[in-house]
Each structure stands twice: as structure tokens, then as C-alpha cells.
Amino acid sequence: MDICAVAKKEVPKIYKSPQFRYKENIVKKHIEITVLSMLSDRPMSGYDIIKEIFARYDVLVSQGTIYSLLYTLKDEGILQVRFTKGDLREKIYSCTQEGKQVVDKRIAEFIDADEYFLNSIKKFGHDV
């Protein structure tokens, strides 16, 4: 997949719908938890992460955001890097032992906050 070509394509109508915009906002707002949950599942490169997010959510996240996030999480000791076999250029990111605990904690906190929010909406009589 050519990420830049996808970004430059004319936006189909479905991507302009409020539902899509809402989904896009959620993914972009929670990009750290999204990436961490993906990396706790399997190690990936920055480019693979962008492709995976696009495949899962139809949302294209900027390389400027994803690589910045990976660099800061690595500096914080949450992620570690290894290189692809035989190629010292492609960096594959995975969670460190300490990082896995942080990821589990953050995902649990995120689910708690999400449930609290959804329940508060339900209280006002809306079906969720």
C-alpha cells in the first residue's frame, strides 16, 4: 500500500460522513493506546503500524505522528527495537517487559473510562 498515494486520493463520500469522522477522531485521539495494543499483540515497524490501522479502521494516520510516538515510547522504555534479519535499516518495535505492564494498565484504565462514559450516556436514556 502506498500511504502517500492513499492520502492524496479524492476522499470518497463515506469518509465525509459524521460516523466516519467520529471514528477517525477516536482513533487519532487514542493513537497511543491503539499502537500499544497492536504492539503487545505482535512486533511491527512504523510503516506496518500505519498499514494495520488503515486496514482495521480505514483511518490514515500521519507518519509524523506514528514515528514521533514510537520514538518517545522507546525513550520512555516502554518499547524496544530490533532490526529485521539481515537488514539494519528496518526497525521492528515491541513492548519491553516493563512496557507490557504499562500497556495492560493503560488498556484497563482506558476500558474503565470508556465504560464510565458509555454508562453516563445510557443514564440519559440513549441506547448505546
Binding site: C4, A5, A7, Q63, G64, S68, T72, R89, E90
Partner: protein
């Protein structure tokens, strides 16, 4: 205060004048003029004295190689000085055209959101930035890029390599009219080399600094175990 970030830099400014916060400064000069070292040293020392964050975006070198070079110049890296290395995305995206100005803006936005007091930014280098960009109208796009940096209230240092006089004979003369960054920048700091009969001296000169009263003289630069220092006038 940036003028206190390098030993002797204050001598180039008059009175209380300094590099104005939020301005876009072009740091230009020939290869080996210590452009990267000067900017990194200024940022590192400035951040050490202020509880702020900085972002150094490198298109020329990997983070590891850049840090090795800085260490060899006696320049320390602070935890609050973040380095963004474009190399990974350039390699992984293979032959795709990169929307480099959008990527750069998203990168800055990410760090600003993560660290509220991100105040200083550096791009190393504009030449590499141009070589990747798909801009058709350089002047117009540069204007938007400079405006974006000012709108984000960052003091920005844009490093640009220029040809040495002897190379210009082969490459073509420097035509400032084709280089919009010289007009758009709030300040221009030039770093270069002067070859005298018996020795070679590196120098720094403030060519332009809007709203600041400054010396136009070329001052000598030296490198010691604690980084870069600026001495008196070359002549």
C-alpha cells in the same frame, strides 16, 4: 536567553537584544562550518537553563550518528531535547513520495501535545527537506512553512548548507532571488571558514536579526571539551 547559551554569543548582541523568541532563524554556511553543532549546542544549553523542551529534526543523519558527532564536540544531550530522525520512515516507505511538510507539522504537533512547553525547533537541513519535498512552487510553500512555524510560537533554527566560493564556480553563482528563505527568515546566522596565509579560522556572523541590534562582524569560533565558544572579531 539564547545569547547566553554559547560562551561569547552575547558579545554579538548589543544591550538587552537577543534572538527573539518565536522567530525563524536561518543558519547557513559551507560544509564543516559547525552549523549542526552550533544549533544543537545552543538548544542544549538554552534548555538546560530553562524548563522547556526542544525538538531537533534530522534529515541528514541518523540519531545515533548525530549524537556521536555532538559528543565528539563536547556537546551534551539533554532528555528534554528530543531528536526526530526521518531516516526510518524514508527507508520503510521505500519509493513513495513523502508529504514532508505535512509530516513535519504532524511531528511538531505530536511533541507539542506531549510536552506542553516545547519552545525550540531545529530542522537539519533545509537542503535535504527540499530534495524530498514535492513542492512545485517553492516560494509559496516556503512562505506557508515559515508561517506554520511562527504560528506554533516556536523559536526555529533552519540549517542550510551553501556552496563554498570555490564550488560556486562549478555549480553556478548564488542567486538570492531564487532563495526565498533569505527574505522570509527573521534572522540569518552565517557560519564559515576563513583561510589566511598560515591558518584557517571558523567564524560566526549575524547577517540579519529582525528587532535586535547586533554586531555585523565575523567572530572566531573554537571547539573545546565543553562545546563551542565564540571569541573576538576575526579581523
Amino acid at each position: 536567553m539564547f545569547k547566553n547559551s554559547i560562551n561569547g554569543l552575547n558579545e554579538l548582541f548589543k544591550g538587552d537584544c537577543d534572538i527573539p523568541a518565536g522567530s525563524v532563524i536561518l543558519v547557513s554556511g559551507i560544509e564543516g562550518g559547525l552549523k549542526s553543532g552550533m544549533v544543537f549546542n545552543m538548544m542544549s544549553n538554552y534548555l538546560a537553563d530553562n524548563n522547556e523542551h526542544g525538538l531537533y529534526a534530522s534529515l541528514e543523519e541518523t540519531k545515533e550518528s548525530h549524537l556521536r558527532n555532538m559528543e565528539s564536540l563536547g556537546i551534551k544531550k539533554l532528555d528534554r531535547l528530543h531528536i526526530f530522525d526521518y531516516k526510518d520512515m524514508r527507508f520503510e516507505s521505500n519509493n513513495e513520495e513523502l508529504d514532508i511538510d505535512k509530516i513535519t507539522e504532524d511531528m511538531i504537533d505530536f511533541y507539542r501535545e506531549k510536552y506542553e512547553n516545547l519552545t525550540v525547533f531545529a530542522l537539519d537541513s533545509l537542503n535535504a527537506f527540499y530534495s524530498i519535498s514535492t513542492w512545485e512552487n517553492l516560494r509559496k510553500n516556503m512562505y506557508h512553512f515559515f508561517t506554520m512555524l511562527r504560528d506554533k510560537d516556536l523559536t526555529s533554527f533552519l540549517i542550510m548548507e551553501t556552496c563554498s566560493p570555490e564550488k560556486q564556480v562549478f555549480v553556478g553563482s548564488t542567486n538570492y532571488a531564487e532563495q526565498p528563505e533569505y527574505f522570509l527568515a527573521d534572522g540569518i546566522i552565517e557560519l564559515g571558514v576563513i583561510e589566511a596565509k598560515e591558518n584557517v579560522k571558523r567564524y560566526i556572523q549575524i547577517r540579519k536579526m529582525r528587532t535586535a541590534n547586533h554586531s555585523m562582524e565575523k567572530h572566531q569560533i573554537t571547539v573545546g571539551k565543553d562545546g563551542i565558544s565564540i571569541l573576538g572579531s576575526v579581523y
